[in-house]
């Protein structure tokens, strides 16, 4: 039985350039998983970007030193596929009867295809959106799961004019993504435009009912002597029967000094 709660998937990731992998996502997560960091696979930094992973493996010079950034090929010259990368990991998760599990990506730049144990899901475009997949039914019966994510760069990475400038040729503004990556008056362009699984990946195990995005608002009266905490939450019953729930909200304060709450 898996423990209720969130588990981050932030270790043991591998990465490879998509043009150097001749397998499909289905094969990678069923019959032909990568066995370890042997070419074209390398250890990956997740969360992080493609360039962060390449730097971690010393495959590019550190763009933060001297003019090293000039030595890294820009996506405008290499083409988007050069910075389109596979990320791969495995995780253990075995559920009991009425447990459910979500695979969450808190942010991906810019779009991706997710393969889990041979099943494909598409993560739509957008650098600033969360993705949550209910993977309860596609977990491997033996608990050992294989996950591969093919991450694509922004649709409009743009080209940096010889004179540079704020936002390069501004093409990046066509996408919903960070714009500084084409360079600004205070910084050089980021060669992969920050492509990657740039924020946390996690599994969240729940029972039949899941809590989503509570909203907390306070209101004040009598010169802040009287205050109210208003709380709204979304709840989802993912079972096939009516869920009789007990919903609790509790507010505790951090304690001053060495006072303990018993």
């Amino acid at each position: 039985m898996a423990v209720i709660g969130k588990t981050r998937l932030d270790s043991g990731w591998l990465a490879a350039r998509s043009t150097e992998v001749n397998l499909t996502g289905v094969q990678l997560t069923t019959t032909h998983p990568p066995t370890g960091p042997s070419s074209p696979w390398m250890q990956a930094a997740v969360p992080g970007t493609v360039l962060g992973t390449l730097l971690k493996n010393n495959l590019v010079p550190d763009p933060f030193y001297g003019l090293e950034n000039e030595a890294i090929i820009d996506i405008a010259d290499s083409g988007r596929e050069y910075y389109t990368f596979w990320f791969f990991t495995t995780f253990q998760c075995k559920l009991s009867g009425s447990e459910h599990v979500d695979l969450n990506f808190r942010a991906i730049n810019y779009s991706a295809e997710v393969y889990l144990n041979g099943h494909k899901n598409v993560l739509p475009k957008g650098m600033f959106r969360r993705h949550s997949l209910d993977v309860t039914d596609i977990l491997h019966p033996n608990g050992q799961n294989m996950l591969a994510v093919l991450v694509h760069p922004p649709d409009h990475p743009g080209k940096i004019p010889p004179e540079g400038g704020q936002g390069g040729d501004h093409e990046i503004g066509k996408d919903v993504a960070a714009q500084y990556v084409e360079g600004w008056d205070w910084m050089a362009p980021i060669r992969d435009r920050n492509t990657g699984i740039w924020d946390e990946v996690s599994l969240s195990v729940t029972g039949p009912v899941k809590i989503s995005d509570p909203h907390l608002v306070s209101s004040f009266f009598d010169n802040y002597k009287r205050a109210y905490l208003h709380t709204t939450t979304e709840l989802e019953n993912r079972s096939a029967w009516v869920a009789e729930c007990l919903l609790n909200i509790q507010v505790t304060t951090e304690l001053e000094g060495r006072i303990c709450l018993v």
Binding site: F128, D199, S219, T233, L235, C245, Q250
Partner: protein, 233 residues
């Protein structure tokens, strides 16, 4: 009085929204910006137990009781801020992001943000050409009392005022922009340090986006009426 339990029946496959009765606090410890008082935080925990299963899910978040108001001062054209009814002299700094390769870590955020608090800042402005900052960024701004001005992803240079002039109507997919905005608002909205959402840097978003953002972000009529009631009181 800071605990409430509610029985609820949720039909199979349903996705519902539930609002608790308001929890009353007498003289709560208020959250103040850096230099104006303590950053008192409360831990709010929500759990749901299902009959025949036990605890099904839980969620917790640090919450600060504070009221942040801001408006344009007619005399200067500048924006004036008040926190808990007290005017604040804003000592703010620009924030692009922690690292150009997005190697973002709690440790780095804690160090960067404490550094700004130690420099006596009380606001960080997250520039529109950067990223919507992450919950860990806001967590340390909550702890160290740095108000946050968070811009959406529009800049004058890339959206209609650059040289060459480009994308005068902003990003190609406005629905995608609004979907990302709404999801970002849900991700960050409970942080007491979040003081102001701003459409973009040196540029107003395209009208449809700007109108939708203003509409989504205005105070809920329920609280509008509450504050009017308060004034009446």
């Amino acid at each position: 009085e800071h605990l409430h339990t509610q029985n609820l029946s949720i039909p199979p496959g349903a996705h519902v929204q539930y609002t608790f009765p308001p929890l009353f606090f007498y003289k709560p410890n208020l959250w103040w910006p850096n230099g104006m008082g303590k950053q008192s935080l409360y831990n709010v925990e929500i759990t749901v137990e299902v009959k025949g299963f036990g605890e099904s899910d839980s969620w917790s978040h640090l919450f600060g009781f504070r009221k942040i108001e801001s408006y344009i001062d007619n005399a200067t054209g500048g924006r004036l801020f008040k926190v808990n009814g007290h005017p604040v002299f804003i000592r703010g700094g620009n924030w692009i992001l922690s690292d150009g390769l997005l190697r973002l870590s709690k440790k780095r955020y804690k160090t960067d943000i404490k550094f700004h608090a130690d420099m006596n800042f009380n606001m960080l402005r997250c520039w529109g050409g950067g990223i919507a900052e992450r919950p860990e960024f806001y967590h340390y701004c909550d702890i160290y009392g740095l108000l946050v001005w968070q811009e959406f992803w529009i800049t004058g240079d890339c959206d209609g005022r650059g040289i060459p002039v480009s994308n005068p109507n902003g990003p190609l997919d406005h629905d995608l922009f609004m979907l990302c905005s709404r999801d970002t608002i849900k991700l960050l909205r409970n942080h007491p340090s979040l003081a102001l959402w701003v459409g973009g840097n040196e540029q107003t978003p395209p009208d449809d986006i700007n109108t939708a953002l203003k509409n989504d972000l205005k105070l809920h009529p329920y609280f509008q009426s509450l504050s009017e009631t308060r004034n009446a009181l």
